[in-house]
């Protein structure tokens, strides 16, 4: 667009004409260009940005502020960093961090692994495209259900007299039913299983999109060079999927670390607080125990950790833009 030049004349002849240009701008042909083009964009983006400032960013700042106060009997009392000092000595906070770490790492690995396997299967040539599309639809289905529903479905399956225990006791001939959600070591694995079931479809679809975007010539070339399926996967598929895998693992880590509803539905942090993650700890201290200041302090620490992850990720993404890998 040539409009930018009209505002900031750079060549000598144009500097001479600048007054004429200014007067001409008020003339009839350019009345629709009263606003510079850059400003025009703000008109469209503005409402959303304003909304974010009011509803996301302002409360975000309030989180920091609230972590420094205590609300007792309705009167806010400034306590400085007392909550943070307590936090460092709070064994339940540290155990919740460990639990969150286990929960997140296990879930993310499983999401991406299962998503990848199923996406590759769906990306193969099928004798019937209709059948493939039906399968794709069925495999996405778990994503549609609410975490509340998913939690209940699985609670029924995990029930001492449920389907899974029927397989265990009835078919494998074991003596005792397994208490999937009530045994400290096993409860976390059970919760991870439900989270895997619930969230893998999202990643499967994104990986499928990435697979479809890989130019077939690359595979042809690799085939000509004598690469078998495994080597083609390692040398063509994985490098091509790299940007997508970075994106989804970051998004997945952050989403998974923030899960409260799943744990609320399945175990409520138990047994013996073995499934209490940081997110659930925030919910519990702030909303169930009513300790808002302390909850805000835990939230702030969690925000800092998430922010570090986001910054690292955005760095990676921005660097990708120079090599044309991303849309920035």
């Amino acid at each position: 667009m040539g409009e930018k030049g009209a505002h900031q004349p750079s060549s000598p002849e144009m500097t001479v004409k600048v007054t004429e240009a200014q007067s001409a701008r008020q003339g009839p042909p350019s009345t629709r260009r009263v606003l510079p083009r850059e400003m025009y964009g703000f008109l469209f983006v503005g409402p959303a940005i304003l909304f974010f400032i009011l509803v996301s960013i302002f409360p975000l700042l309030r989180t920091f502020q609230m972590s420094l106060i205590d609300v007792e009997a309705g009167i806010p009392l400034f306590v400085g960093i007392r909550h943070y000092a307590e936090l460092v000595q709070d064994p339940w906070f540290w155990s919740s961090l460990t639990n969150a770490f286990v929960f997140t790492v296990a879930s993310v690995i499983l999401h991406i692994f299962i998503g990848m396997v199923l996406a590759i299967l769906l990306n193969e040539t099928w004798f019937s495209t209709t059948l493939r599309n039906i399968m794709r639809g069925l495999l996405i289905l778990p994503w549609v259900f609410s975490t509340a529903s998913a939690g209940l479905m699985w609670t029924l399956l995990y029930h001492p007299f449920g389907l899974l225990n029927y397989l265990w006791v009835g078919l494998l001939g074991q003596e005792m039913p397994i208490e999937f959600l009530a045994k400290p070591g096993l409860a976390m694995a059970s919760v991870v299983a439900v989270n895997t079931w619930k969230a893998y479809p999202f990643y499967m679809i994104i990986i499928l999109g990435g697979l479809q975007a890989i130019p077939p010539e690359l595979y042809e070339a690799a085939k000509v060079d004598g690469a078998n399926a495994g080597r083609r996967f390692w040398h063509v598929t994985l490098p091509q999927l790299r940007p997508i895998l970075i994106a989804i693992s970051t998004i997945d880590i952050i989403t998974t670390v923030g899960h409260v509803d799943l744990i609320r539905m399945l175990t409520r942090g138990g047994p013996l607080r073995s499934t209490e993650t940081v997110a659930y700890y925030i919910y519990k201290t702030a909303l169930l125990d009513g300790n808002l200041g302390y909850g805000a302090a835990v939230s702030t620490l969690m925000l800092i950790m998430v922010a570090i992850l986001i910054i690292v990720y955005l760095r990676l993404v921005s660097r990708g833009s120079e090599s044309g890998e991303t849309s920035f």
């Binding site: 983006v45 409402p47 975000l60 609300v71 193969e124 099928w126 994503w143 009835g170 998004i251 998430v306």
Partner: protein, 284 residues
């Protein structure tokens, strides 16, 4: 010789097909078991839910549980709340999202890149880190336990991804068409309305489905900001029901099924566009 290689190719193809199809089918069966089990439990007599051995075929089908829930004033209320919350969130998010996506897609702005990065960061902001200030602020501004408050915060959490998806769609639509319309005398808003939006319909439908499913299934914000059935959505109703009638698996699963029916319908109708939206390079 040609026949031999042809045959080998065909055998290879056959084995490949059997492998791919059976593995996918097996996965689908395992993955759908919880869903089938839920619907199954919702529609069979009470004695048959937790029997040994479990029966896949109910001895008789009954809609008794679902019917009694639909007739129940309380659960109808939850259902209506969920509908209002989801549709209003959808409306707010689509209006703000379309405008913002248009702005980001069609204008070079000072700081536009940083705003986009900021939106990307908001996209990843965990809900749980904001429940404390939301809880407090909602009390302060009088939006605690109100549908409106819930709609506003729901919108804030789904808007970033919505802008991101819609921008991706608009970037793929050539700008020439709108410019032609504007030369022909359309204003910018008219050009957007008459040219761009109709072209972006698949993207809008996909994103809209995404928003609706998110809002319908939202739990944490609702549990933070509401206190009475008058403003609570179905997800909370489901959790409360589970807490209250732990043993009545038929009714629990019936309510869970009813909760999921609208989503399953929407999903069957719009699945294509959701998948399209997510596979067309939304995450880049």
């Amino acid at each position: 010789m040609k026949r031999a290689s042809d045959l080998r190719f065909r055998y290879g193809y056959l084995i490949h097909q059997v492998f791919v199809v059976s593995l996918t089918t097996l996965s689908a069966i395992i993955i759908l078991t919880p869903v089938v089990w839920m619907i199954n439990a919702a529609m069979r007599p009470i004695k048959e839910v937790l029997t040994y051995p479990p029966r896949l075929d109910p001895s008789q089908l009954t809609f008794e549980y679902m019917a009694s829930l639909i007739e129940n004033e309380l659960y109808r209320g939850y259902f209506i709340n969920s509908t209002i919350i989801s549709l209003s969130t959808l409306a707010i998010v689509l209006v703000l999202g379309l405008l913002a996506a248009y702005g980001f897609s069609r204008f070079k702005m000072v700081g536009g890149r940083y705003m986009l990065l900021g939106i990307m960061a908001l996209l990843m902001l965990p809900t749980v880190t904001l429940i404390v200030p939301y809880f407090r602020l909602a009390h302060l501004v009088g939006l605690y336990d109100s549908l409106f408050g819930l709609i506003v915060v729901n919108s804030a959490f789904i808007l970033p991804i919505c802008i991101w998806l819609l921008k991706g769609y608009m970037d793929a639509i050539p700008v020439d068409l709108e410019e032609a319309a504007m030369i022909d005398g359309c204003t910018r808003l008219q050009a957007m309305q008459k040219i761009l939006v109709p072209l972006a319909v698949p993207g809008i439908v996909g994103t809209g489905t995404f928003v609706f499913v998110f809002a319908w299934n939202e739990f944490l914000l609702a549990v933070t900001l509401t206190d009475s059935p008058g403003s609570q959505p179905l997800t909370i109703g489901l959790a409360a029901f589970f807490g209250q009638f732990v043993r009545d698996w038929n009714s629990i699963m019936a309510l869970s099924t009813i909760t999921s029916i609208p989503l399953m319908i929407i999903f069957v109708l719009f699945q294509r566009w959701v998948v399209q939206g997510m596979t067309s390079g939304a995450v880049k």
